[in-house]
Amino acid sequence: MRQFFAFVAKEFRHIFRDRLTTAILLGLPILMLFLFGFAITTEVKNIRLAVYAPAPDDATRAIVDRLAANDYFILSRTLADPSQIQDVFARGEVGLAVVFSENFQEEMLHTGAAQVELIADGTDPNTAKTLVNYAQNIIAGYQQELLRDASVPFLIIPEVKLLYNPSMKGAYNFVPGVMGMILLLVCAMMTSISIAREKETGTMEVLLVSPVRPLQIILAKTVPYFVISVIDLATILLMAVYVLGVPIAGSLALLIGTALIYIFMSLALGILISSIANTQSTALLISGMAMMLPVIMLSGMIFPIETMPWPLQWLSQAVPAKWFIAAVRKIMIRGLDFESVRKELAVLSGMAVFLIAASLKRHRTRLE
């Protein structure tokens, strides 16, 4: 046991002596949370607006005033001619153009044939849809007021409830994803590279002829990364709660338990990769191509799985991070209990057991 601790101490010294790597391992979660939490927002605001009204009257002015009074829009141009619409869009000057029909007020009051066109720059589909929806709701509010004045209300009032994330912050969606990615990066990628490095430089041979059992050497390598991943996990959770304002809605114990299963699984994956790779660059390539890429693309961390075509959805079932992220979203964001994450936990535990068994077996046959 004393030998084991001597090895662990050696591994810690290795890691902390490489300042750049240490800084990256501990700083990366902070950077990622900042980027995801603050910079990625699906919120739409300060959209510049162009208006074309062939014959300005009280009604068009009322509608334009309502739009401009809102936080979402800034009135930036009043167009003299509809042909200018193409130009202002091409120069990227505005995001939305509001075009009224001729004799708007007259037609509105008497024939009901008046039209207001909302023309959005559709380049970015979601922004376009969101801002058209905002504009439509604002104008619909004006319409309802008109009706109320005319005492002909036939209204259905939709009462909208936004579950789990009422302020619709991007961070709610991304925090679990960042956890899934960082833990895998630290545990699997760094472990596999550091074991491969010892093989490459030949120091592994020296260790193997020492009286320490191979299993102990491998385990000693994983301990520091385990510790770092726990520090990262704590960093992420503390930042999520105190900086990003994402509360832990469910049980903290359950959340930590899930994370531990995932960490063990990732460590096992790292050991497995290192038993295949003999050089650092191979280890880097395998963990990059076979691990980080699927995690970024197929885990649902950034890109929603439900909009992917079925072969990719099917493939995503094999990505451990997908199950982890799904479980964390349920526990942390939605506050659900053990019952509802039973499936995710079962799959993760299964994967962990399988990977630990496989990596032990491979290392035994290769090393002893």
């Binding site: 927002t41 739409v44 869009f89 959005a120 589909p125 969101t130 939709p158 909208v160 950034i302």
Partner: protein
């Protein structure tokens, strides 16, 4: 002298197991797979309906919702609690609850309420979904109003239509948004990062030391490294044009010449960035870490997915320093809107400044002698 160095670079490039294949595979794979994966399209949301009213009017509303094309009714629940359980186990994304007495209230009090509850863990999906559903409810109210009014023989009421139109991407396809931006990423990789890795690789192997004792000037050495990747970058860009046309029917509305002009300035800028990285990194691993940092920052702050305009101020200030941001705007404008060079003088100036600044930094930080 440059000729011999170029000969060497092209031969090495051709003999590499990985690189030549990548030039051809990368545009195909990234343009075909990436838009499938990075799809934030909000369609086919799973709708759970709780109808307490069971009246003709409430049935018409549920039919309208399911026929809208945005929703797929996956559950008809008898209570809100049951429907909420559907959201918890992810079989439903959004709930429409119609209270009992809906039709009666509509007829007698001329107004009624419905409830919409959406899972907003993914804010875009939840937010847009509930907005669609609210829109459908409003449309339905208008329809009812017209019918009831017509039957009661009332006069025309003040009203107008709101028409939605989307320029440049009328069907709001997400991939149309992604494809031009992916081309930008591709040029960044090929012309910025690959030559940097190549130079760091020569450092690690020690072959650069041999070059340093020859009379080769550093400018020539670096130029010989960059030219092949510029060629490769433009080949890949043209493959991208082809893939975009063949698989998505997407051709630039604006001039291809405009794209080439901006691409060459952009490529100079990212080559400079790559050289700066290669000057500071001693090993490939360090270079990879630095690139990972830049890629992550550029992807998320450069407006690849989310509009720069809606980011917080500090993030917008940072994004001003990312060459990628300007070129993404340019590519989308030329590809979708048909913008001309004269419409985009500001990004052109910015990119030119980056090209000059980054290459100057690269020359200053390069040392042939220690």
């Amino acid at each position: 002298m440059l000729r011999y160095l170029l000969e060497k670079e092209f031969k090495q490039f051709g003999r590499n197991k990985f690189l030549p294949r990548m030039v051809f595979m990368f545009p195909f794979v990234s343009l075909l797979v990436f838009p499938l994966v990075a799809n934030f399209d909000v369609r086919d949301m799973n709708l759970s309906i709780v109808d307490h009213d069971h009246s003709p009017m409430s049935r018409r509303l549920t039919q309208k919702a399911s026929a809208s094309g945005y929703f797929r009714v996956t559950q008809v629940a008898d209570s809100y609690e049951r429907a909420l359980r559907g959201i918890e186990d992810d079989t439903a994304d959004i709930i429409l609850e119609i209270p009992s007495g809906f039709e009666r209230d509509m007829v007698r009090q001329r107004s009624a309420a419905v409830m919409i509850a959406a899972n907003t863990v993914n804010g875009t999906r939840g937010g847009l979904g509930s907005a669609y559903l609210a829109g459908i409810v409003n449309d339905y109210a208008g329809e009812l109003r017209a019918e009831l009014m017509a039957s009661s023989g009332r006069l025309v009421t003040p009203s107008f239509d709101i028409i939605q139109r989307y320029r440049f991407n009328p069907h709001l396809e997400y991939r149309v948004f992604m494809v031009p931006a992916i081309m930008v990423m591709l040029l960044t990789m090929m012309c910025g990062f690959l030559p940097a890795l190549n130079i760091v690789g020569e450092k690690e192997k020690g072959t650069i030391e041999q070059m340093n004792v020859t009379p080769v000037r550093r400018f020539e050495f670096i130029l010989a490294k960059l030219i092949p990747y510029w060629v490769v970058g433009f080949v890949a860009l043209n493959i991208c044009f082809f893939v975009a046309w063949a698989f998505y029917g997407l051709t630039p509305v604006g001039g291809v010449g405009t794209i080439y002009l901006f691409a060459s300035v952009f490529v100079l800028a990212v080559s400079g960035l790559g050289l700066v990285i290669s000057n500071f990194a001693k090993t490939i691993q360090q270079a990879m870490f630095m690139m990972f940092f830049f890629v992550v920052t550029m992807i998320f702050l450069g407006g690849l997915y989310t509009p720069v305009a809606s980011m917080p101020d500090w993030a917008q200030r940072i994004s001003d320093f990312l060459p990628l941001k300007y070129f993404i705007i340019v590519m989308r404008s030329v590809y979708l809107k048909g913008s001309h060079v004269t419409d985009m003088l500001q990004p052109l100036t910015a990119l030119a400044c980056f090209a000059v600044g980054l290459n100057a930094l690269a020359v200053v930080s390069y040392r042939k002698r220690s």
